[in-house]
């Protein structure tokens, strides 16, 4: 029994998404509990990835393909976890603010979050404040993340926070900001809850806030 969990973890480490999804299904078919497959297989593999990434042995693309495999495994598990009442890591909406088309950083954060077990809703790029508000209302995420690369567009982050306040939704969601020109001081100034300097630390910050 433990053998298949180890196989899930190893395949996840190697980024074999299809294999991970198939193994997760197989474990369930053998009668394993969904939360056992989650912690002993997927999370165990991702922990190993995280450890080697922090040590500098794994690079970002390897973490991302592992995250993709995690996501594939979660696709199989998530409905069952919800049924059995196991709390998910959290729901996260993410987008690049209005006027800004840069999405590589946003995508990186999104993929890393998925690797950590978050359910993500990607609003894409050039996202207007009212679209953010609508998404928060609809999905009720624990965390909303905004990204900007340009000094001219980062001011849009403040507009989004104001729009959420006007809609009476500000207190329902934690807000994270990030992007090359963004700093912790700027985050504080515009009333965001948190700032993360890079994709890996964004996951840690998001975990703290969702937990």
């Amino acid at each position: 029994m433990a053998d298949i969990l180890e196989k899930i973890a190893l395949n996840l480490y190697d980024g074999e998404a299809e294999e991970v999804a198939a193994l997760v299904q197989k474990a369930l078919d053998q009668g394993m509990a969904p939360d056992e497959v989650l912690s002993g297989g997927l999370i165990a593999g991702m922990d190993e990835v995280g450890k080697d990434f922090k040590a500098g042995d794994l690079f970002v693309p390897e973490v991302l393909v592992a995250a993709r495999a995690m996501h594939a495994g979660m696709g199989v598990l998530r409905p069952l976890l919800a049924e059995s009442g196991v709390p998910s890591t959290g729901k996260y909406i993410i987008g690049t603010v209005q006027g800004d088309l840069h999405d590589i950083g946003k995508n990186l954060v999104k993929m890393m979050l998925e690797g950590a077990g978050f359910e993500t809703i990607d609003l894409g790029v050039d996202v207007r404040p009212d679209a953010f508000v609508d998404a928060v209302r609809e999905h009720q995420p624990e965390v909303a993340g905004m990204s900007a690369l340009l000094t001219t567009t980062m001011v849009q982050m403040k507009a989004i926070i104001e729009a959420l306040e006007e809609a009476g939704l500000r207190s329902s969601v934690k807000i994270m900001v990030g992007g090359a020109p963004v700093t912790a001081a700027f985050a504080e100034e515009i009333g965001a809850d948190a700032y993360a300097p890079d994709a890996a630390s964004a996951v840690d910050v998001a975990r703290d806030m969702a937990g």
Binding site: G15, F59, P61, E62, R68, I104, M111, P197
Partner: protein
Amino acid sequence: MAKKRRGPTKGLVGGRYRPLTDDQVQRIHEAALSILERTGVQVEEPEALRLFEEAGAAVDRESSRVRIPRALVEDAVGWAPPRVLLAGRDPKWDLELEGVRVHIGTGGAALNVLDLETGQRRPAVLRDVVELARLVDALDNVHFYLVPVYPTDMGKDVVDINTYYAGLANTTKHVQAGIYTVEGIRDTVEMCEQIAGGAEALRERPIISFITCWLVSPLKLATDVTTLLIETCRQRIPVVLSAAPMAGSTAPVTLAGMLAQLTAEQLSGVVLAQLAQRGAPLLIGPIPATADMKTGRYLAGAAEFGLTNAAMAQIAQFYHLPIYNSAGMTDAKTPDVQAGFEKAASAVLAALAGSNFIHHAAGMLENMNMVAAEQFVIDNEILGMTMRVLQGVEVSDETLALDVIDEVGPGGHFLTSEHTIRHMRSEFYYPSRVVDRQGWEMWQQDGGRDAVERARDIAHDILAHHRPEPLDLAVESWIRERFELHV
């Protein structure tokens, strides 16, 4: 998942930077031959005088002047091997010097050390030869160990055997040093024959080589060192003909004049070495530099340094002789910004020119007067970057990646492509943690420290933990029985 990493960087091919045109090389060659025929060199060493005389050079014993005909020069250049192996105790570190293949490492011989613990400048001792060998053994972009310091805590009679032993016992890379007595040469060769597994084994795989500064510019042979040069040639151990004129004081101020004189000096050494022992493996060792016209001091970090060392590499290629020259030096007194830019500029130029054996490129400060452990660690990164530049851009179907570009398409990303993962480790040079690539906040969280402080950490780590492959125990005890070792 395949994790293809970059292999050792030694031996990559340079020769793309050519500061001289072919015509200019030809003119410098003609000028050098003319200097040897017209002005000649001053020789007082009796055996050298005899060798030159027997070979048909014009020897004026009254003025000790030797004028060398061009035919003799051409013959001697032909006798010298175009390819010289400098072996490592571990064959992984073998250096095959020929053509435009590039190797970079340390140089000597500083009398002072910037102490890693106290931060103070102090005299170098034998212990430093040991510690620096261990440090260099762990730095992958430093391809050989040229003993960087002269130990001031021992007599000239035992310095040769002790420096070579301290080097060989503490790194598996090739060890080279200056030598100071004929006895020292013979002792060192005897020791190395034991380590190599016999006299012929040592000649086949010379794990050591000797430096002789046999000539004092302009054009005057140093008598004592010339005796050592003749001895090393007859031992058939690779030897370096080192000469280091300064444009403006010991050579013409014009760079062309200096290069011509230095070429003549080198050719006179090649002739003598080949007369002493036909086919003797040697590296020409031209180190062109400039004098500070404001003070007369030797300059190691000048713009002309990289330029002229690159030019000398071209001249060596013209003669098909392996070359030892210098780069990666500085006039700075601490591992500061000046040290960084002066070192980087000349290292890149000398390497791109295809120099075979670039020494002085790691650890050295205050031109050749002082070394610092943290500077070796920093220079290891300069050399890593230099060798990556040398590696160039590979263009193939696989690296053009047309299928990958098509698959990702407009607006996508390459982060999760199998192609990215396949090539990301080998395509880029990844520096050690002496280089900080984090954002401001993360850098501050880590203490907000600069490269020099990080380099000191790394040096401390290596010296605390790195244990190089030791010498064979039986050989080790034989050496200790036979020689007076101070370490």
